[in-house]
Amino acid sequence: MSGGRANLWGARLVVALPFLWLALFFLAPFLIVAAISLSHARIGIPPYEPVVVWRHHWPAANITFNNFARLFRDDLYVAAYFGSLKIAAISTLLCLGLGYPMALAIARARPDRRNLLLMLVILPFWTSFLIRVYAWMGILKDQGLLNLLLKSLGIIHHSLVILDTPTAVYIGIVYSYLPFMILPLYATLERQDPALLEAAADLGARPWRTFLSVTLPLSFPGIVAGCLLVFIPAVGEYVIPDLLGGSGSNMLGKALWDVFALDRDWPTASALAVALLVALIVPLALLQRLQRRLARTVEAGS
């Protein structure tokens, strides 16, 4: 039947079009990054030698591991690697510390208010990320509004140096990624059966005890998902350390841009990208598994 054949081709096209697009503009670029991370740098356009050359009519690999060796040798890159992981980890914990009580308060609010409260968490996420990070520059600088306020209240007499320190980077990351923490937390907290809390209270458990032995363990998938959603982008963050962390801030994303744009050393930039990906492989795989599990439970529940 010709109609059936047309349908089959239509179906193939529906699958093939987005698939080929992603293969060409997402998958292939990563393979190229991997290839160029092994290439020799040179001065020219493009600033790297081809990784496959023809020698006596045969293709031969023209690769080097020097770019990766340089990452290990140079203290700057080693510091950036561990600095990124440390800053991302601390920011994630701070985000959890603020996000958990917020998510819990929203989940325990009156049902007709929850949507509005949640909307208020998401709204800033839609407005310009760059402008929101920039807003902190005016607040945190030496003659900024925070220092002005604290001085006029008589709490401090000399300006606190916050801008261009790790503290400012923590504030910026928590501020930017808080919605990513709250949303998955809220999703698990809101689904909890209130009868469980009542049962615990009826059995004589105090609120703290109920929280520790009922609410907290049941929200564990939300905690893991929220932490991964904050940690992963924070490790590769570039705008926040650049604007708030100053020249002393040392993170992989910023190092990658500097090597790429200032040094024009594309092979080393590619090696840095591979190193960043390696640092993220475990959290990325965890997130993928968790999302599949959450999707299954949601499908099973509905």
Partner: protein, 276 residues
């Protein structure tokens, strides 16, 4: 908090509730105060950003006559509208492929390709796309230069995965039987989909397009990698001037951006609530 007994228990519930609510209030203040401060200071007459020199719209006037920002804003709007439309088509196709065509070869790879851009750090995506464009330019001669086209491709690639997630969630919940009925009555699948399912999907499609549009307008990192000379988007322009320090012009620009987005989102939200 070691007291026991019913009455104390009830009081503790009140105390922990109060603690929760004050943290919630602190959280909202933390999220909104910086933006409010920026908006108030954008009306400051003084060039010195720490001294209040009286109420003025001076910086809005300066901004309106600055061709750098106007050109950049126009380019950004064009890139955002084009890439969002492309992302809407590709993302919707991807969602249909995942929901309707159950098992096809390479489905797991496809799922991974859709999930990965959502969480991948921008610097990696930006570098990877740039190297791809350079390699393509070297081998097939296209794209010969970087600018509008490469920006659109980069933003559409990232945003299509967001669109796919939004549309897929809605499509998965939808009742398939209306479309099947149309096909039983002789409509071709594509026609049945266009006439029955697409109108029902409209709110998700609108949300997906809006999300893609905002993502494009907001992106600075990927754009910095994939753009070329002469094609400076608004975020790139803002970023390069912000790196020099706080400026009253950027305060004014930020206020406009925040207000436009807030009005747009609230309008879309009300529209969707009215439909629901």
């Amino acid at each position: 908090m070691t007291a026991a007994g019913g009455e104390n228990g009830a009081r503790m519930v009140g105390a922990s509730r109060l603690g929760l609510l004050s943290l919630l209030g602190f959280g909202y203040a933390f999220l909104y105060l910086p933006i409010l401060v920026l908006m108030v200071w954008s009306f400051n007459k003084s060039r010195l950003v720490v001294i209040w020199g009286g109420l003025s719209t001076r910086w809005y006037g300066v901004l309106a006559h600055d061709p750098r920002f106007l050109d950049a804003a126009w380019l950004s709007l064009k890139v955002a509208a084009t890439s969002a439309t492309l992302a809407l088509v590709l993302g919707t196709l991807a969602a249909v492929a995942l929901v309707r065509f159950g098992d096809f070869r390479g489905r797991n790879l496809f799922m991974a390709l859709i999930a990965a851009p959502l969480v991948m750090p921008d610097v990696i995506i930006g570098l990877a796309l740039l190297l791809m464009f350079v390699a393509l330019g070297q081998t097939v001669g296209w794209p010969s230069q970087r600018g509008f086209t490469t920006l659109v491709i980069a933003h559409a690639t990232i945003a299509m995965t967001y669109v796919a997630v939004v549309v897929r969630a809605r499509l998965g919940q939808m009742d398939h039987s209306l479309e099947e009925a149309a096909m039983d009555l002789g409509a071709r699948p594509a026609k049945a989909f266009a006439l029955i399912t697409l109108p029902l999907l409209a709110p998700s499609l609108a949300a997906g397009w809006l999300l893609a549009f905002t993502l494009s307008l907001d992106d600075v990192v990927v754009a910095q990698f994939v753009t070329g000379p002469g094609a400076t988007t608004l975020p790139i322009e803002v970023f390069s001037s912000v790196r020099m320090g706080v400026s009253p012009e950027i305060n004014a620009l930020g206020t406009i951006i925040v207000l436009v987005v807030a009005v747009g989102i609230l309008a879309a939200w009300r529209l969707m609530r009215a439909r629901a």
